[in-house]
Symmetry: C2
Subunit: 366 residues, 2 copies
């Protein structure tokens, strides 16, 4: 299993919204070829738990997290576009993060890492785009946290973006999703093994991370999907389980969540998770202009595609509608669609029959 | 502050679905007067965390949990009806529960309490109704867990119920709400102070209960309500807080949840909570007939009013619709309404402008 990542080492001090980093690294992967006029580049920023490995390629043939969307002949067609997927600053998959060594101390940053914002993530991505000598991106593309990050990018660098594909995100975080993320962070911080962020890296607060992930799984999907998939099916060995622990697992949905939460447990650093989770809460496009509308008025994009999902209760369709309306008012050409997917917030990762054509349409309009 | 509770001591052995209890007690309160023909009685069964104190009365003038609904001249008018509100078997507010002493051992039941079902709660209520020498109830009324409990009651005692008012419940629990409750229980059981149920009663697993309550609060309300109420308001002393803990509270919604969760912490016994929570998961009307429809066909009620709330994502409007359709198919006269309340599952406790007339209509139709 190869590694397709490139690592951009930033020589200068990197200014963040709430602090600075010395010589950070930004990891990224690219697919396809930059054309001579350097105007076919597509920047993808990711959700909270995704890496820069968006799709398989020669160097790393393992499937990427958006394998069905990015590649030759796919909706984001790497025969036509030069795709750059950046690992968010603060994320655990190769960019400088709270688990990285602070060159000024020789120890890991941990909680001395400055408060992270999505603007910092956009700034890190801009360093990569500059390094690749791309003046103006064909499109920026992001879903969930990635959708907010590309919005931050387009607000900060209005000359650098031609079009935006924004999926299941919004102009800011709303209190319901803040409440869920706040509780998730509390579950991690309440784990005695978190040790106020000073845990040994091979002894993560796995129990807290597992509980946080379970809550995430619940909020990423929808009632309807689980009703269709699991109904009231019982675990086959439920009897034995119930006899040993009266509050143990009994239903299929409980076993499913348990298995999925465990699979995430070891894959992510707890402090990185906490920083990224908080960064989502903090984002508000209004910070870029006094109100959401005033901020959107400053965008330099010509057109946008805004997609959402009817069953998403983490980033509500109302939030995508608000973004669409603000862009329309700002004179941007906007295509807008709320898809009928039943898989909730996660639909962009799984309901490919609906998302593939909707994403392809954005690129076919260009 | 007086105590209006009556306590029915059951002399015989009390047969439960999954075990038996020796001489349990069922607590209840009554309001109004039973008429001579004994046909004006209304039985109210409660949600998970409510007591039998449904409304203020002479003996206990403190406001009850449904103060706006039950009382003289109110939608459930105690000038006209004899109201009996029963404390669920297994609940902490006076009926026999896992925190009660097992007469055969002299110690608290704790986890030796038999697996609890809503059928057992209905059975306990039936003992009270028999004790009061009521042959047939004018109506059974319940919301949330109480709605399922009165459905269990009507299925088990088809001759004892004339009409049903069923609010924000369903014919069974669906996997999304099972998942939420399963995680809540896990939060309690993961608290080191739970001690596998053997905690001293004055040293409850408060941290686990607090986290479970926070998750409950999130699932009982709705995105829209919190957006309207809290938006992205910051805590006034947020700066100080953020500087001491980078993942501390920053938004008003976080402070609200924190305060509300603490207020619940000391009011309920952890093992009782676990038993009641599981009982909700386990309920399925289909157990009374092979399918929901076959069970509903056996009901002896003449009419029903089924209410739900558009913004409820714990007991979805689809579940109330399913119940309505099954009753209609069974030849029961059904009034059905999904209210536009934005307060989610909790609306029946707070959106009185919508619920008062909808509840009054049930009684005015009689």
């Amino acid at each position: 299993m190869g590694d397709a990542r490139r690592f951009l080492s930033i020589d200068d001090e990197f200014q963040m919204v709430h602090g600075r980093l010395r010589q950070p690294t930004i990891a990224y992967e690219t697919l396809g070829e930059l054309n001579e006029s350097r105007d076919n580049a597509v920047l993808i920023l990711t959700g909270l738990s995704a890496s820069a490995h968006v799709a398989s390629n020669v160097e790393d043939p393992t499937p990427g997290w958006w394998e069905d969307v990015v590649g030759p002949g796919k909706p984001i067609d790497t025969h036509r576009y030069f795709v750059v997927c950046v690992c968010s600053l603060g994320s655990f998959f190769g960019s400088t993060c709270p688990a990285s060594t602070d060159p000024s101390t020789g120890s890991a940053y941990r909680l001395t890492f400055p408060m992270l914002t999505l603007e910092d993530i956009a700034h890190g991505a801009k360093c990569v785009i500059d390094h690749l000598e791309i003046k103006r991106l064909h499109s920026v593309v992001g879903a969930s946290m990635g959708g907010m990050s590309v919005l931050a990018f387009a607000l900060m660098y209005p000359d650098a973006v031609n079009a935006m594909l924004n999926i299941s995100a919004g102009a800011n975080s709303q209190p319901f999703s803040i409440a869920l993320r706040s509780l998730q962070r509390e579950l991690v911080c309440n784990d005695p093994k978190w040790l106020n962020g000073e845990y040994p890296f091979d002894q993560q607060p796995q129990e807290g991370m597992r509980l946080a992930r379970k809550l995430g799984m619940i909020s990423y999907r929808s009632s309807q999907e689980w009703r269709d998939r699991f109904g009231r099916e019982r675990i086959t060995d439920a009897d034995a389980n119930v006899h040993t622990n009266p509050f143990g697992m009994d239903f299929e949905i409980e076993a499913y969540l348990s298995a999925r939460a465990r699979s995430f447990m070891d894959a992510f650093d707890a402090n990185c998770y906490l920083y990224l989770s908080r960064a989502i809460d903090l984002f508000d496009a209004a910070d870029h202009g006094g109100s959401v509308q005033l901020a959107i008025n400053r965008l330099g994009i010509e057109r946008a595609t805004i997609l959402g999902v009817q069953s998403d209760f983490l980033f509500l369709p109302d939030q995508q509608r608000e973004l669409k309306n603000a862009m329309s008012s700002a004179g941007i050409r906007v295509e807008f669609e709320i898809l009928d997917s039943i898989q909730g917030h996660d639909s962009f990762l799984v309901d490919m029959n609906r998302f593939r054509p909707a994403i392809a349409a954005h690129f076919n309009r260009s």
